[in-house]
Subunit: 282 residues, 4 copies
């Protein structure tokens, strides 16, 4: 379909995109991530994303979901702040059923999207693409991308997307005007201006329940950390997305090793994100 | 009593039955396990089984038990999905008092049993054997098997079962038409077509509260992972059951070593399941 | 005051009192401990004791305290059973305010004490000494022992007990007709028939909040494991109490080492109990 | 602004301020810390402070905040006592919104401040400085100190405080009559009598959400441990504050190493406090 030149993201590329905190940093300058994910039905998505964001170096995470979900988040991550306030980036959508978004939740999502800070949109928030102008990266898997494009009257199917993920990521980026991170064994990142990056998963054990929520958290943290750069350079978003995918894969690989070569769970991946970052920073 | 030739399951036998995920796998193709276990009275059974299933490599676990139990499950395993949906195998019965099954719970069990995907039946679900035709493995201990056979008007006692577990496992498999995994220091697996496998526990510390729930979770994950093979070859069930028992024992042995040779708890066993699988996959 | 010959309990003495599970053991034969400790005001005592009992090798723990405490117990130890049933030993009293024992709780304590299986009585249950005839060990600290003796019209004070713990442990054993384990930097164990054993704490970091609850759990597990021997030989109780104190101290020492020589918490002690037992079993 | 001679606190200075428990210590003599922090809005602050205090060697922590916060505290630290009683030091204020202090909470804070035992005042309790005469250390960051001084009609701004933290810490100590620990990449400790100590953070990863709550917990534990010395020598407070800051930084450095050089969270810092103390005690 497309003739774009794709490049595989390397460790050295990723290392250039990470920012270690300096002497003048505080938790605010390091980046505050606002998270609107999870629901009574799917609380786990919030827990996984929030934990991964903290592990990936967010200065602070604000989580303001339903009360019982907040309690679960705090039991796991007591450092999370569960009241609203200023944020430098948003992570929206996972663990939310778009067909059952309440009035309050819809208001929160619209508030976030209107705030003009960079946004990571996933799963149950994907249909909101195009309702705002802030720098945005979406993180669908093949089925979600096919649905999203069908909603925009682009004919495709999950089989077609799977057969040529590079082309469909690129097409979606152009159609939707946002950075697209299409998840898969080879993750494809495309932006509307032509950036085209692949990240090949180093372990197939990455395909486990909640893995995508962890990726969302990592990416949210990186975007929050880079908020100053992103304000002046929207092209920085695709390389950040690629860096998140690379860290996600490397953390999974480290988790497999820590588990003696056996299965891993999403929290196992989260637990190794700091080590993956530490390696990159050398 | 019987003259069947029993074989002890070896590490190499087990290794052949494990499937590592490949590039085309996602969490659904790796196998989704539906879990209907645990209750207000016995919530722990659900926590242990669900955690063990994730540790054993289930692509996803769906747990739809009572609300407070779901909250406990999510606090421990945020990657678990607590709403219904398509599954490739069921784990039913542990932590449920058969004398106090509610109308809703009975409906859920019947729904699961009617779904024609493979079923692992344990403890409080054992009386449902014979009410469905899906490939089934039951996992009783000696007392439960004696009760189950007595209910079918087969005269026996817990003492008789303990005295000759091989014979009684075989007899039960024939009477009930399902694969029988009879738990004990030597676990005996028999299927109606004559498969007869023993798995000798490598440590007597395996006999600890909740240990059987962990075994159920491991077996559930293996069955969900093998759902495609099982659809065409029901004979694959007994070897999977033997493999689960072997992994359970080896994980316990690794846990004892991690605890300096001292006592272990059921969660300690769960924590080592990935390492036991990693060893087998070599 | 007394001329009894006291002996310091050695590692080899303790090793003789431990029983590793054998091929014929199941969780019931290994010993079921019933725990009636903790309350709305002091839930933590239950959590610590239950966890320590499992770590010390109880086959099963039954905990039937207040509902919110049960939820906390299960979140920490999903292998615990929270409904009543047969037990082989009881641990009673810690985390209970004797002045605020409810009607239900009083009934539960009386039921336990009437059941004739061995009993470990601590803290808020100490006043019940003498209301039953089952083999009993009490585990007071100096202040509790002084109060307990004062209630029996034995004149003493916490200062006097601290000044001569050996003598007062012995005196209390005679007055009360039970085994007395008097906690301190040197723990003194005395039984009415003249057993007199000391256990010197290997680290002063043992003196931390909840440490006594952990000791209670260890002792409860050992008593449950030895229930058969105790049925025929009440003299076995004092050596078991000394063994529990020695394991408690050694686990604390291992925890200090694991913490780089720094402070430890009660759960840190619990976490090392298996290793302390493993060492003894060699 | 000032010509005071500041000294950088060294490991050897800190080591002299730590007290290892001795044979006559029990949990009470080691120091009981009363904690009034956290709220329905900000429960995490309490969890982090309480956990850090236990990790830093408090003999016991009493936490009496809102019921749901107590439940979260107990799930994490079952050794914490959640009813009132005698304490040897107080930690007050973090996780409390000063504009929304309830009648009950205000009463608790006033009760604590009137009790004449040493006080660590942080965040939402800083406005209470000057309402009591007990030995006090406050732990503001630059913005909080600027606000606090502005409330006392001292003209300054967060920028001015950041530009010359030494001078403003000293000024505040004189104006307010308390020990001031001004948090930053270089933490400045000043007391009204001229003590002037700096502690340079060994890692910029210390700037993470909840990090200040962990510092509060460490300092609270040190103050409770030193309660006897503090009763006779108020000058001991500034060196203790410097020691807490040094331990906090060293624990963060150890946590970064444990995380492979990558990001850390506040609980990661807490987890390494024992090791930092162990190192100092050598």
């Amino acid at each position: 379909m497309a003739a774009t030149s794709w490049r595989e993201w390397r460790t050295t590329d990723a290392a250039e995109r990470l920012r270690a905190p300096g002497p003048d940093d505080d938790k605010y300058s390091r980046g505050v991530l606002g998270v609107v994910t999870g629901s009574h039905e799917y609380p786990g998505a919030a827990l996984l994303a929030v934990e991964a964001a903290m592990r990936a170096g967010a200065g602070m995470v604000r989580y303001t979901g339903p009360r019982p979900v907040r309690a679960l988040v705090l039991a796991r991550c007591p450092e999370v702040v569960t009241v609203g306030g200023r944020v430098q980036a948003w992570l929206l959508g996972s663990g939310i059923d778009p067909a059952r978004r309440s009035f309050v939740l819809t208001g929160e999502l619209e508030h976030a999207l209107a705030s003009r800070v960079p946004v990571v949109l996933d799963a149950g928030g994907l249909d909101l693409v195009g309702t705002h102008t802030a720098p945005t990266v979406i993180t669908p898997h093949a089925r979600e991308l096919a649905t999203l494009l069908a909603d925009r009257e682009v004919r495709t199917s999950v089989e077609e997307v799977r057969a040529d993920p590079r082309a469909w990521a690129e097409r979606a980026a152009h159609e939707l005007g946002v950075v697209v991170l299409l998840k898969g064994a080879v993750t494809c990142i495309a932006d509307p201006d032509g950036a085209a990056i692949t990240v090949t998963a180093p372990t197939h054990r990455l395909a486990t329940a909640g893995s995508g929520d962890v990726l969302g958290g990592i990416l949210g943290a990186l975007v929050a950390s880079a908020h100053e750069e992103l304000a002046s350079d929207a092209h920085a978003l695709a390389p950040l997305a690629a860096t998140a995918a690379l860290l996600h894969g490397r953390a999974a690989e480290l988790a497999v090793a820590a588990n003696g070569g056996g299965p891993i769970t999403a929290p196992d991946i989260s637990a190794r994100v700091p080590h993956a970052i530490g390696e990159l920073l050398g």
